[in-house]
Symmetry: C2
Subunit: 217 residues, 2 copies
DNA sequence: AATAATTTTTAGACAAATCTAAAAATTTGT
DNA sequence: ACAAATTTTTAGATTTGTCTAAAAATTATT
């Protein structure tokens, strides 16, 4: 599988989480920052390689083989992210782009040895689950901060947007994985949320609240 | 710089150690396992990028910029090899191919943090020096076992051939970096060498002796 | 020094991955 | 339901890195 093919497989995998039907050509083009015509070409190639099902005008859908391949790439991505943060002392906003490259390194033995070295982590630096060596992904129980009721609280367990801009903003707010957040009030006007964090009260926008995952008990 | 361009730069670098003049098209083709015509094309591209000097029929020669680039790739390659052996417990015959992929990962910050994590190693698992962050390579003092006089001894500090076949053969002979070897006799008929290693005497072929580096005092 | 052998370069083709522009199919709006 | 809008596909071109075959230059031989 080429680098580009792997990127497409990953994109289709991520897009099909929300989607029941096939993932649309345009959606893939947007995700991959390319043109619809390029996507059509690539989907055909991937269909020949049996990693996607493809019928004209019906979008793309990963085969079982395709899903397993995607899980493997995601496993590699997240294990490398964990390595970069825990062993090399990168911060959580710096690791995505480097892991995008490292995830394409081929050796299976490498990734199993890395997993052992890291002591089999289950969660990456952004709170996302690391698939096991069989490609199984443990679903993490989590709720968007934006949909938590006034008065309720939870622990930060993940982010939806893991762009470095957003992560650096969270750093500035002192919001990190493991922090406890209590929803003090929700403003109906703009859906902003007043929260308590470390005994201080801060107001966060609807957009921000919509990108933070909490675990409630 | 693309992956392929980086591979050519590295090949030219390694070939120009023995060579005073430009490295010939054919020599590069052999090293890269490709055709001379492909090499000519690539050399022209590299010349446009100012990493090699090129005049028709005169072979290729790295510019200062090209040499610095090569040193950087080699630094990455050897640091990753050290990581694979020391942290992930790979054996010395398994790491070359994986490092060939890892050496192309772009981030400068990654390689500096890796260097720190590994505590600034100077020598890779095959005894080759790791260039520092400025691209300077410390020359290691070493002599081929094949050219050591009868009765003299030395410490194994490197190998010339680092193919996994050769390295596994050395494992079988219990020859590893740091071992002391004494040359007991040299057979004029086939240039084989009788050595003492850990109180046992073994006979090694001229070819083997020609791929082991010793440090003599 | 002329010819033969070898090396290197050029010319033209090809596959992968992309693009633009236009055609075809599907979906939407009234 | 049918025209308009949108989405998707096709057709043809481009770039990178490769190839084969043939031409040009260099090196070796007698």
């Amino acid at each position: 599988m080429t680098l580009s093919e792997e990127d497409y497989i990953k994109a289709i995998y991520h897009l099909s989480k929300d989607e029941q039907k096939g993932v649309s050509t345009n959606a893939i083009a947007a995700q991959m920052d390319t043109k619809a015509s390029s996507v059509t070409d690539m989907i055909k190639r991937l269909a020949e390689k049996k990693v996607v099902h493809y019928k004209k005008y019906q979008g793309a859908r990963l085969t079982e083989e395709g899903k397993a391949y995607a899980a493997k790439i995601i496993r590699k991505h997240r294990l490398w992210e964990f390595f970069l943060v825990e062993k090399l002392n990168f911060s959580w906003d710096e690791v995505h782009d480097i892991a995008e490259e490292l995830e394409h390194i081929k050796s299976d033995k490498l990734i199993e040895k890395l997993d052992t070295f890291l002591d089999y982590p289950r969660i990456d630096p952004h709170g996302d689950p690391i698939p096991d060596s069989n490609g199984n992904i443990k679903k993490v129980e989590k709720t968007l901060l934006s949909s938590i009721k006034k008065g309720k609280k939870g622990i930060v367990v993940g982010v939806k947007d893991s762009s470095s801009e957003f992560l650096r903003y969270l750093d500035k707010l002192n919001i990190a994985l493991g922090e406890e957040i209590t929803v003090l009030n929700k403003e109906p006007f703009d859906n902003s949320v007043l929260i308590k964090l470390n005994d201080s009260e801060i107001n966060i926008s609807a957009m921000t609240a919509n990108n933070i995952f909490l675990k409630t008990n």
